[in-house]
């Protein structure tokens, strides 16, 4: 890679080792990026469903999912549009807790997350188990706004944030990988920020 004439960038002393390559710290701002109209979803009508290659396909209402063992993520999030945010706290339920109820069949290898808006995003199963993914409804102690995916979104913070589907409505477990919305539109199937897997071909 050839250096750009005249570019020195942020000084090493001000670079944050918590930032993946090519990312900047958005500080107090939380940029918003989604391609559809922001919906307003009543928690009375909200459901979350796990289906596909699981032993017991299950749907939870808002009250039912809140009755499960709560879990919390504290840390960073990284958006493919190059902002990162540190010190975030999300409260919700671990996907592991939901999968203890549904079970997962041996032939399941991939997951398609879907939203109440029709948005989809695909993930390998390894990225949603073992304490790496959640359904969350509170951020920094307050309910998630509509614009950030409220009342509940998927949270997969070790991947670029488009994988953390806003307004999440369910996960389908699949034997073969299929592409979701942004993946069909040129974004990477995996999306690891530390490997800069932003676009197809990275």
């Amino acid at each position: 890679m050839v250096a750009t004439r005249g570019f020195v960038g942020r000084q090493p002393s001000s670079r944050d080792p918590r930032l993946p390559p090519g990312q900047y710290d958005a500080g107090d701002e939380w940029p918003v990026l989604h391609a559809e109209a922001t919906p307003s979803i009543d928690t009375a009508n909200w459901t979350f469903t796990i289906d596909g290659l699981v032993d017991t396909p299950t749907s939870w209402t808002w009250d039912e999912i809140h009755a499960l063992e709560p879990d919390r993520y504290e840390g960073a999030i990284h958006c493919v549009t190059t902002w990162s945010k540190f010190g975030m706290t999300f409260d919700g339920v671990s996907i592991d807790t939901l999968l203890e109820i549904t079970g997962v069949r041996d032939d399941a290898a991939y997951v398609m997350a879907r939203s109440h808006t029709g948005y989809t995003t695909n993930l390998p199963i390894e990225d949603v188990v073992d304490g790496r993914a959640w359904v969350v409804w509170d951020v920094n102690g307050a309910p998630l706004d509509d614009i950030h995916g409220g009342p509940a979104r998927l949270l997969v913070p070790h991947l670029y944030f488009w994988k953390s589907a806003k307004w999440v409505s369910g996960l389908k477990f699949m034997a073969e990988d299929e592409q979701g919305f942004w993946e069909r539109n040129g974004y990477h199937d995996h999306g690891d920020p530390w490997l800069e897997q932003r676009y197809q071909g990275d």
Binding site: M1, R5, F7, G9, R10, P31, A37
Partner: protein
């Protein structure tokens, strides 16, 4: 797929101002690629020690030709936009990849309505240029919302039968429309059932424009949005 999105170098062939805060960079690609209006390129800057920063910029030019034009708004403390505005000169070499982003792109055949807030006009200008070049002004209706005449990009080119400019703070002398934010009455005459709608601008503009579109009866499935910026 991989080759379409791999990095390449481009020579800066021209730089021109659009407004006091925006410049258009004409880039000559080493490997020219055809884009669809609405797509963007990624520009990557690399420091001698390997540190790099990259940002996405929409293509303003219409498809075809070896050059692309990217219009870049100078952001406060913008690491990449500031460098492009203040340091880059004609003849410099930049690393770019693209075109990227198929969702907010236009096929050049479906009739569309574009709603742009400020710098959000850039990808829609690529669409307008294509529609004009194809001699199909009927294909596109464009509404651009800006604070004042000084904030309008492509001012000497954008006017035409397709275009409505809405001024939110200061309007040119003699304007019939009072200054103010986009209203349902601004968009209602332009909405037709077979038109796809492309909305581009800040998060606040996009959410306001989407509400207006739903209010005048546009099906939510026909709206494509490209938004940026923080929430309030």
């Amino acid at each position: 797929m991989a080759s379409r999105s791999s990095w390449q170098t481009a020579v800066v062939a021209a730089i021109g101002p659009e407004t006091s805060h925006a410049k258009t960079f004409r880039l000559r690609l080493t490997e020219p690629r055809t884009h669809r209006p609405g797509q963007f390129y990624v520009v990557r800057l690399t420091a001698p020690d390997g540190y790099h920063a990259q940002r996405d910029y929409s293509v303003a030019s219409s498809p075809g030709g070896d050059d692309i034009e990217l219009t870049v708004e100078m952001l406060p403390d913008g690491e990449v936009s500031g460098f492009l505005h203040n340091v880059v000169e004609v003849g410099d070499v930049l690393e770019v990849r693209g075109p990227v982003g198929r969702f907010f792109s236009w096929d050049g055949a479906t009739p569309i309505l574009g709603l742009a807030g400020g710098s959000g006009v850039v990808p829609l200008m690529s669409m307008l240029r294509l529609a004009r070049r194809a001699n199909r002004p009927d294909l596109m209706r464009l509404v651009v919302s800006v604070r004042s005449p000084a904030d309008l990009y492509y001012a000497d080119e954008i006017s035409g039968p397709e275009t409505t400019v809405v001024y939110t703070r200061d309007a040119p002398a003699g304007s019939a429309r009072p200054v103010g934010r986009l209203t349902a009455e601004d968009v209602r005459p332009l909405v037709e059932s077979d038109r796809e709608v492309y909305v581009c601008g800040s998060a606040g503009f996009c959410d306001g424009a989407t509400k207006l579109l739903l209010e005048v009866g546009v099906d939510v499935q026909r709206i494509r949005i490209s938004r940026w910026g923080p929430t309030s």
